[in-house]
Symmetry: C2
């Protein structure tokens, strides 16, 4: 038996284990100091009451023969797919429930979607970005071209007509930079994709953090995007589902390549290699999209965005360049005094007892940048910022 040798081309990621080790060492040397982490990409607010109620109700249904649920459709229950359709409708996007696929999260779908594409396609990936796009394509041996995100383009790389690509990853709002594409910018990407019969994989996991009404929260707000884009979204950050697990993927019927609707290919993939999300969790997810659920989830998002505001205000007053934090839970800053991202990590830990994430972990173009997240406790964020103001930056 021969292994998939593409796996041998993967680089081991030491990002989070290196961070953990440095923090551990520091704690041993400074047992009296309290470390504050602004590095976590995980939510801290609990599930909202509407979701808890729906989950509890669904659990009790499972104890009675009459209301018990066995296998569901692999693509998700109709009630949840319809709820997602209604959510899109509020954005001005009309979808049928046959175009929605419920899954255990965007990470699974972003990895598994590659099953339906030939391995001979060329992939275009922004740098810096969520590392999973790169690794999943290395695993299947595809050629990867990187597009540079820099301070000059506000970390929003635009299409280059001299570069040919078949599969294009866009993450907006971006993880880690918090940068968000405008409608005009996404129009350029849709045009670029249509001209080449390429497919855009649009990761909108952070769409619910967009505050500016002029910014698109779905690629389908762009004309003709249904002919060239798949959208991936998740309840992880929208409603604190990082440990509850539910997301959704949209493949419009209009999206056809090699005379084959990609919707049909993905349906075949999912019915063959997936058995659907837990009924209980799907009821919880449905509750997120109810009026009361959305309004409760919005309160949590407002809580996090207040943290982002506090961080942004502090960086501004310190004269540190940054992007994000306005329509995203991420603040992406230029490391001061020409420090590299790991140098700044060490400096910040030593001088302020504050932990963030070195930009190098998200690609070569992140090596002079640093990520703070807004997902922490509000008081922790405030004391972290007071510490930043005190040190020599």
């Amino acid at each position: 038996m021969r292994i998939n040798r593409n796996y041998l081309n993967l680089e081991d990621s030491y990002l989070f284990s290196s961070i953990a080790k440095k923090v551990r060492d520091y704690k041993e040397e400074n047992p009296e100091k309290r470390i504050i982490s602004l590095g976590i990409g995980d939510v801290t607010r609990p599930l909202v009451p509407a979701v808890i109620e729906a989950l509890s109700r669904a659990v009790l249904e499972m104890r009675d023969k009459k209301t018990f649920r066995g296998y569901s459709e692999e693509q998700g229950y109709g009630f949840l797919r319809q709820a997602v359709c209604n959510y899109f409708k509020k954005k001005g996007v009309v979808l049928s429930d046959q175009e929605i696929f419920i899954s255990d999260g965007a990470k699974s779908d972003l990895g598994n979607i590659l099953d339906i594409f030939g391995t001979d396609n060329t992939v275009l990936i922004p740098d810096p970005v969520y590392p999973v796009y790169v690794d999943t394509n290395i695993m299947s041996g595809r050629k990867i071209i990187f597009m540079r995100g820099t301070a000059d383009n506000n970390f929003l790389p635009m299409p280059d007509n001299n570069v040919e690509a078949d599969i294009i990853y866009l993450c907006s709002p971006n993880n880690p930079t918090g940068a968000v594409y405008s409608k005009d910018e996404l129009e350029c990407w849709v045009r670029y994709a249509l001209e080449r019969e390429a497919v855009i994989l649009f990761d909108s996991a952070y769409e619910s953090f967009i505050q500016d009404k002029n910014l698109p929260t779905s690629i389908y707000q762009i004309e003709r995007s249904k002919e060239c884009a798949i959208e991936f979204c998740s309840l992880s950050k929208t409603a604190g589902f990082t440990g509850t697990r539910c997301g959704y993927t949209v493949i419009p019927k209009e999206l056809i390549r090699d005379d084959t609707p990609l919707n049909k290919l993905w349906l075949r993939r999912q019915t063959t290699k997936f058995n659907g999300v837990s009924y209980i969790i799907q009821r919880g997810a449905e509750a997120v999209f109810s009026d009361i659920g959305l309004s409760q989830a919005k309160e949590n998002i407002a809580y996090y965005m207040k943290n982002a505001q506090i961080i942004s205000d502090t960086l501004r007053s310190l004269g540190i360049w940054f992007t994000g934090g306005k329509n995203a839970p991420y603040i992406w800053l230029k490391c001061p005094n020409n420090m590299s991202s790991w140098e700044f990590f060490d400096f910040l830990l030593k001088e302020a007892g504050v932990v963030g994430t070195p930009g190098a972990g998200f690609g070569n173009n992140g090596r002079e940048f640093f990520r703070f997240t807004a997902f922490g406790d509000s008081e922790d964020v405030q004391s972290a910022m007071r510490r930043l103001l005190k040190i020599n930056l």
Copy 2:
């Protein structure tokens, strides 16, 4: 963008849609007749009280900031991996929790595991069998060799030293035939795999239905199997989790190919393309493995096995050849009077108003056979059998 053209080689499965259409047509013509289905592969007993309690408790933990859980380890919480280890210990199998991977079900893992194997491996698959093994390998373009399950070998094909294969699927107890390999037989398979450095993918989804203490419930009860086998199991049938979704996969550290531990490759696959199972569901799964959970689950299994007994007794009194039903929830019978499996389906529906699954749906060698399942309501099973006794078989 070019699609994965291997998908075009998949045959559309019309099995369950054809059955549904025939039943619909029959109902329209015979509105007064009540149809009884012995065709469903889904459980009908609700979740047991120990699981309901654990799920309810976990839901409430998610509402409080202090007990809320976000991202977990992709391979599952330690508490659940340890519970699975303890379950194996009772079978005399010693595993470390690093060898256990928790997932949303065996179907997902059986499909996704192929990611870590080269596409140039030859695959050996029993016929008849669960169709997912075949389709997932067609999707990745692997060469498939079938091994014949027939009445002569009791639907338990044995290794043929003239056949070379790299990946071997074994399903014991088998779906659809209910046949179970003995220890001696599995020893032959382990020897065959070790001699070729092949890997056995052992699907033990129905292990909890094995009543005969001499039959192996895990491949790891066979010596040196840890050097050549991956085991997939699920709580779907063990504890009625078909709609709740949780399973586990075991990759022993001793399993090394191309100088690479497969455990490490799978960990890399899962951390890159999966984000773990819902915390709530993992707590429910943990409860299955508690003493009270196991004993409650056993009662449901006894209920189903009583159905199997009733079906077996009836077939025996009718002089119809069958296998399974003793250590599995499936009864696999030879269609009487030289009927094909679809002819028998039509005959049974028309004469008795009873629905089963034509063996043709599970492979060429199933074309003269038929599957009954024991998952129905006990009273339904009894009236179905009374009907069978009345018609001319």
